[in-house]
Every structure is written in C-alpha cells, then in structure tokens.
C-alpha cells in the first residue's frame, strides 16, 4: 500500500450510546408504509373486481357455461340468455370504427410529424386532443340529433345506390344502426390513435429519415421506406389501443346502435353491443339470472379488453425498448 497519513492507532471510538450520530428511521418506515397502502389499492381493487364479476355472474356461468357466448337468444322473460349478437356487435362496430379511424389518424399523425409547417403542429394536435376530452354522452347526443339525420338523408341512400350490390348495404334504412355507431366510434377513437401514433413517430430517430432523403427519396418515399417500418409495431400498438377503447365505449354506442339483439348482414340494420346491453338493462333487471347474465357479459367484455390492451402495451413497450422491432 502507498503512503498514508493515517496514524496506526486511531482515537478510541466513543462508547455505544453516547454517539452523536444516532438517529431513527421511523419517519421513513412510516412513509413507506403509507405509500405501500396506496400502491396496494390498484392490485386489491383489480382482484376485487375480477372476484366480484365472477361471483356476480356465477349463476349464469353455471347455467349456460361457455355456450353463453354462442347463444343467439336474449329473452329476460323466458330467462334465456345468449351473448353471440352482443359479442358480434361489439367486435363488428369496433373493427368498422378502426377501418374508418386508422387511415385518418395515421394520415394526421404522419402529416403532423413529417410534413406540417412547425407553427401549426402544436395547435392542430391540441385541437384533436380536445376531441378526446368531449364526454361520450355528448357524442351520443350529437349522434342522435345531427349525425343520424345526416346519414339517413344523404349518406346511407348514397351508399345503398352505389354499393347496394353488397349485402352490407342492403335493406331498409332506420337511422340508428351498426354503421352509425361505428362512425361515431371512429370519431371518438381517432384522437387516441393519433396521439399515440404521433408519439411513436416522434421517437423515430432523425437519422432514419435523413438516410432515406440522402438516397434521393421523396419525402413520402422516406416515410414509407424508412419511418413507417421503424415505427411499425408502435403504430400497431396505437391501433390496438384504439380498438380497446372502442370495445368498451358505452354511451355513444348505446344511443346510436339501435339496440336490437340480432346479427344482421346489413350495416344499416340496428345491432347491440356488450357495453350497451349492460347500460340499458342493468338498472331495470328484475331477476337474479338477468343480473347474472349481464354481469357475465361484463366479465366477457372485461376479459376481451384486457387481452386487447395487454397486446397493445406489449407492442408499444417493444418499440420503446428495442428500437423499432422487426424490420423487413
């Protein structure tokens, strides 16, 4: 060892108990305890939620089993419940909403991150995010009194005249319908997809873009060849997150879809969703089995959205962690 100016025998340590450095950590322990209680709230509530939904639907689970999701009759008087039309309606309305919302929101997100003049980027993003702040019930109100009359008078007849050879655009036009609900859903989920996609695109390193431009690509070609492949799984995550929103959306859909337990080919026909049936029937249910069936619907809806959201999170995390995921 090298030189040191430490004397061989340091001064004797003060006796235990007289230390001037003593102190307690009681405050820290108490603080951690309080925070732990708060942090336990989420797991405990979620565990309770799953338990309560299961207990609440047990009557229906015992009587109908998994056949519940395949049954097509919903008759509270005869105590016969099948959720197939609800599940079909939930999935179809959400997927249709995606078909409409995805191109729009990706177009906006790409425009705002790659093309728009700097001065308008923030304001436009802000306005579109305000759309996300509008309560669902207000969309419903607007849908009933503005959107549906508009669709009924102009859009639906036009679709029937031009695309009527397809089964989706045949049959009587009611107004409240699968298509009307999907359109309002599309408007509602667009801001979510847009803002997540925008964040993903902003995270793409500038070098990706510059490399493509340096090779002589037009700006659009740079987007297609360099930026989108890089952001692919993040954008997919954004879309699935939007899907999760759409699946659970209640009020606007309840007000616009027509609420009929039926699987119809025509998008002009009314339908029903899982969320809507709970909203409409829960406070009016009279029998235990009706409550149980509705709770069973809630349980199925919960499981579907959890699965969808978990998939979205995984995809977004992969982008955040792995710098782009797969490229092809």
């Amino acid at each position: 060892m090298a030189t040191t100016i430490l004397p061989d025998a340091p001064a004797p340590a003060p006796a235990e108990g007289t230390s001037t450095l003593a102190g307690s950590r009681r405050g820290d322990r108490l603080f951690k305890g309080v925070l732990t209680v708060a942090a336990l709230a989420v797991p405990v509530l979620m565990a309770f939620l799953v338990y309560e939904l299961y207990v609440g639907s047990r009557l229906a689970i015992e009587r109908y089993g998994l056949g519940f999701v395949a049954g097509t009759t919903w008759d509270p008087v005869a105590e016969e419940f099948g959720a197939a039309p609800l599940i079909f309606g939930t999935l179809l309305s959400s997927l249709l909403a995606l078909v409409i919302a995805v191109p729009l929101s990706l177009g906006v997100a790409i425009y705002l991150t790659e093309f728009a003049p700097r001065a308008v980027r923030q304001p436009i993003a802000f306005i579109i995010e305000l759309l996300a702040a509008i309560p669902s019930v207000v969309y419903g109100l607007w849908g009933i009194f503005v959107l549906i009359p508009l669709l009924k008078a102009h859009v639906f007849p036009f679709l029937r005249d031009t695309l009527g050879f397809l089964p989706f655009f045949q049959g009587p036009i009611y107004g409240p319908s699968m298509l009307a609900a999907s359109i309002i859903l599309a408007i509602m989920i667009m801001p979510f997809i847009m803002s997540v996609a925008r964040e993903v695109l902003l995270a793409v390193p500038g070098s990706q873009r510059e490399a493509a431009l340096a090779l002589g690509a037009t700006r659009w070609e740079a987007v297609v060849s360099a930026i989108l492949p890089y952001a692919r799984s993040g954008i997919l995550g954004a879309i699935i997150l939007g899907l999760g929103r759409a699946l659970g959306e209640t009020m606007a859909v309840t007000m616009l879809i027509g609420n009929r337990h039926e699987i119809a080919a025509s998008l002009f026909a009314p339908g029903y969703t899982m969320a809507a049936v709970i909203a409409n029937e829960f406070s009016e249910a009279a029998t235990d089995i009706h409550f149980a069936a509705l709770t069973y619907v809630a349980l199925v809806l919960f499981l579907v959205t959890v699965t969808v959201n978990a998939a979205a999170r995984l995809l977004i995390w992969r982008v955040g962690a792995g710098g782009g995921g797969k490229r092809s």
């Binding site: 939620l49 939904l53 609440g56 191109p103 702040a133 669902s136 607007w142």
Partner: protein, 281 residues
C-alpha cells in the same frame, strides 16, 4: 425524367390526402361545438343553473340538482382517487424494482383500459347490491376507481423526470428519505401532477356509464350521499333519449354546460403548467 416527375407527383398527392385527413379529423370537433352552442345556448339562462327540472310540457326549469350532484360526486371521487393515485405513483417511482411496484404498474394499465361500464358493474355488486340502495356514494366509488390509475401513472412519469441530482442534494443535506421525496421531489413535480389530476377530474366529470346504475340519477335536489343523485352527464342521457322535444332542448343545454365544465377543467390543467417547471438543476 418522367419517372422522377411521377414520384414527386405521388408524394404531393399523399401530402394532399393527409391534409384532407386533418380537415376531416378537425371537422367533427368544430361541428359538435357549433351544434352545442347553436342548439344549447338558446335555453341557457340564469335560471337554468339555479332551478330544478319541471315536468314535461312546462317550460323553464334547470339543472341545479345535476350540477351540484356532479360537483359532489366528482369531488368525493377526487378526494379519494387523487391521494391514492399520487401515493401509488410515488411508490412505484420510489421503489421501482419491487414486486408491488411492477404489479401495480401493470394492473394500473389494465385498469386504465377497463371499460368504465365494467367499473360501474363492479361498484354495483360491491356497494349497491350490498346496501340494497342506489347511492351517490357508489357513483363516487366508481369514479374514484377510474381516477386512481390515471393519476398514478402521471405521478410516476413526472416523478421520474425530476433530476436525480436534486434527490441526492437533499439526502446529502441530511434529509430523511421521506422528506426528500415529499418536500423536494414531489414538490418539484407538483405542477405537472396538478395538471394530471385536473385532467383526470375532467375526464370522470363527463363519465356517464359508471353512474347509470350506481348514482342512478334523480329529478330532485339531494345532498345525501346514501341516496340516488343527479349528475350532468346522466341528465344529458336521460333527456336526450326521452320522447319530448322540450327534453331534447334541455339535453342540448345541459350538454353545453357539461362541455364547458369539462373544457374549462382541461384547459386549466394545460395552462396550470405553462411557463413553469421549465428549467431547473
């Protein structure tokens, strides 16, 4: 040469389509706001804010009961949801590697994605079914549950943004860990957390689905949390889906009030942080 022009033309076409997408995306907002003002403002008067609803067929009447109901239920939800959310967020930022932090972070994301109607069913089975009574309390519980994960995740993200050097400086000064967290770290992140909490409040203030069969709604003025209570979103729903033309007018006016409340909260949230929390360390 021709090919090059084609490529440029294609690029311009796509930009044009994207601008069209922006227009289509912004249009509904303007359209909805315009309709709300046109159809709702006419029925707005001072009395609308101070009076109770009147039976169908009469004119006049107001939404005082619903405004008060929304304030009470959202207020109670915030009193529970905001502290719990901040506490949980602090825990997962302060003890990030612990199993509890990982579990509550993951489950908060699950909870965030849970449809609010499902949370309503949960509040029903938990409270309404047990007390055999629709109540404002059950409604608040559902709203609080929606707030917790939102506030928690915002808090965690903002706490993580506070430079580590500040925490070290406080510890080196002899601050106990809890005091470092509360009076230095949390204090520094507070403006952002206030914003996040206000946004969460704004969001649940517009929620209808979780109140449908918990608070249920009511035609009467009530301050009792053990009874059904009105709320603005419920009022909009009930009047919009009712059969009378006057009711629809009423629904538009109530929706205008609701949207003003929600927009003011969201704008206040965004403005609260502007110009602060910009540089430090």
């Amino acid at each position: 040469m021709n090919r090059k022009r084609l490529r440029r033309w294609k690029s311009n076409l796509m930009v044009g389509l994207m601008i069209a997408a922006v227009v289509v995306a912004v249009a509904p907002l303007l359209f909805i706001l315009l309709n709300l003002v046109v159809k709702g403002a006419g029925s707005l008067s001072f009395g609308f804010f101070t009076r109770m609803p009147v039976p169908a067929g009469e004119t006049g009447g107001g939404v005082a009961h619903a405004i008060v109901g929304t304030l009470i239920m959202v207020g109670m939800a915030a009193l529970v949801g905001v502290p719990l959310g901040i506490g949980a967020g602090l825990f997962s930022a302060e003890f990030p590697g612990t199993r509890l932090a990982k579990a509550s972070r993951f489950l908060a994301d699950v909870m965030n994605g849970t449809p609010s109607i499902v949370v309503g069913v949960f509040a029903w089975t938990l409270i309404v079914a047990r007390t055999k009574q629709f109540s404002a309390l059950a409604g608040s519980a559902a709203l609080a549950m929606l707030m917790i994960p939102m506030v928690m995740r915002t808090t965690e993200e903002l706490i993580k943004l506070v430079p580590h050097s500040l925490r070290e400086a406080a510890l080196a000064l002899g601050y106990p860990r809890w005091r470092t967290t509360v009076s230095i770290v949390l204090r520094t992140a507070l403006p952002g957390i206030v914003t996040g909490s206000l946004l969460a409040v704004a969001r649940v203030a517009g929620e209808t689905a979780p109140l449908l069969f918990t608070a249920l709604g009511s035609q009467f003025f009530s301050l009792s949390v053990n009874e059904p209570m009105a709320a603005l979103p419920l009022t909009v729903f009930q009047y919009a889906t009712g059969p009378y033309e006057e009711w629809h007018q009423f629904a538009w006016a109530a929706a205008l009030v609701l949207i003003i409340v929600v927009m003011v909260l969201s704008l206040a949230a965004r403005l609260a942080t502007r110009g602060r929390f910009t540089r430090h360390g």
